[in-house]
Symmetry: C2
Subunit: 324 residues, 2 copies
């Protein structure tokens, strides 16, 4: 995506708050994930759950008279083909899907394999329990446990004579901490790595410089008595996710390590010093600050448009879909 010199708007011209996407960082993050999967000999299944720049349709498909699956697709299958369906497993996260130890797993795989409505594609697990990790070693433990459990279920499915072509695991933390055991899988499907965020940085999935999105906001008030700045980004521009997780609040002010987002109302943020005194004159009314969000999936969902930037030029606009 080449910058259109002369015609492109500058970041400084944007109304705020605005959601910015650094195109070069997105490209680098995608290339790194792809290279990592190539090295492991697995497929990278691209997800759109963070940026939602592709409209997916939801279909309710009957597997047999008792069992239905919800299918999310970008395109309907070609004539004569059926939907590819995955069996969702929960190997420790305890969200949706069948429990890896339960015989329901192989029963459902058999049902899907026999169904005229769907083609059984394989197994899928989102190991979101990796988000509870306090250090990279915990993420690695979740990764190993998830793979071991998934392979156990796959062994039981195969023992029933059912082919299981796809073995996929996701979660950005585990996929950002790859290990050789992943060679036993066929695909990875992390969701957040395209943008990353402060949460992923804390989990060790990325460095601050890899975070490819931010919220641009402007200083709209000086309150010397409170030694406080007001900015035009409140929870409707950032969400309250991550509150209390960082010394700087629920986010990181890029290149401003002593700024703390102390609290937010709907459209206003209150910024104090992390430590000591804030020189308010360093942040004149109208000056722009750039916020790296705690959870980019949540923050991105607050914006009708993403401004794609290269340095300080706005080179494109991406309009995410709304809805589910």
């Amino acid at each position: 995506m080449a910058s259109q010199e002369g015609s492109a708007r500058r970041v400084a011209e944007l109304d705020t708050p605005a959601f910015l996407v650094d195109f070069n960082k997105v490209s680098t993050n995608c290339a790194k994930a792809l290279a990592q999967c190539t090295e492991l000999g697995v497929t990278l299944r691209a997800q759109t759950k963070t940026h939602k720049t592709m409209r997916l349709e939801k279909f309710h498909v009957m597997v047999d008279s008792r069992v239905a699956v919800d299918v999310l697709v970008a395109n309907t299958p070609p004539p004569g083909k059926t939907w590819s369906a995955y069996l969702a497993v929960n190997c420790g996260y305890n969200r949706e899907g069948v429990w890896w130890e339960s015989s329901e797993g192989e029963e459902l795989a058999c049902l899907m394999d026999k169904s005229p409505s769907v083609t059984f594609a394989g197994v899928y697990v989102h190991c979101g329990n990796s988000y509870s990790a306090s250090q990279p070693r915990d993420v690695e433990r979740v990764r190993e446990e998830t793979i071991e459990r998934l392979l156990h279920l796959v062994g039981r499915i195969k023992a029933r004579g059912v082919a299981c072509p796809v073995l996929g695991i996701g979660s950005t933390p585990t996929c950002s901490h790859p290990g050789p055991s992943m060679r036993q899988l066929t695909e990875l499907h992390p969701g957040n790595y395209i943008f990353y965020d402060a949460q992923q940085m804390v989990l060790g999935s990325c460095k601050e410089a890899d975070i490819a999105c931010c919220v641009a906001t402007r200083v709209i008030g000086h309150y010397p008595d409170r030694n406080q700045l007001l900015i035009d980004c409140g929870f409707s521009g950032l969400t309250k996710q991550g509150t209390g997780q960082l010394p700087s609040g629920c986010c990181i002010f890029r290149d401003q390590p002593n700024l703390k987002l102390d609290k937010m109302t709907q459209e206003v943020g209150f910024v104090n010093a992390v430590k000591g005194h804030l020189n308010l004159d360093d942040f004149p009314i109208g000056c722009m600050l750039f916020i790296l969000p705690w959870h980019s999936c949540a923050t991105a969902a607050m914006y009708p448009v993403y401004h794609v930037v290269e340095d300080d030029a706005v080179v494109a606009e991406w309009r995410p879909t709304r809805g589910w």
Copy 2:
């Protein structure tokens, strides 16, 4: 708004999660607020900050060479007229505006009064500190303190020979607990009363039956081992606001007092019993539940369309504006 018999969709046909607005409750809430203002002899200044169904434009207007104001308007003023501008005061909430005791208040009023760019309309205060109240008596204390402080500043402005036609206070909790001291004002500008929400119910601003909006969601999973239902509404359909505020989580399940929204991921909610055992068979897969949100301003902002309902008929769609 008459229901279009025969042609209207039914609530049960909607994709979920969906944001529903009960038209009759909205009408009643608006009529009540208007009647209350009429009785007090003040104007009701309608706000759009909760539902945002009207696009406002932001203009930056110079009051003099040093002072600027941001003006939010639905329409530009007729030729020859200037912008009406209010002085924002913070009489205890400590967000934006001048502090009521500060001489900056009367200085800014004088500046605005002399400016060729704006017409000084009066003073405006949002007493958002009423949201910290734990009981109606605390809301009333905030109301009285705010009015007393505002009148003190207005007295000082008038002593400088500046007319101050509008004396307005807002916040839904204070305006939902009116008192005779409000007769000294000229307008009220609550924001949330059109929809109300669980937070306002806790603050005593409304009853549960007055809450005019809800999120329709469907049961998508049964987990007997965890005695848990999964629903298709996570934080991207509700926000996490109000987490831990109620025995039922951050919201209320309408007509289901024993359901608790235990936690949420992006697009999934986990529902347990408030007390005792949940009979999962009472909530078959696909059945609809209706969630009264903790903070309707935040939840409404998550939806590209509001489905306006009368009983179980969808009689209209309102499309809120995005952005700020």
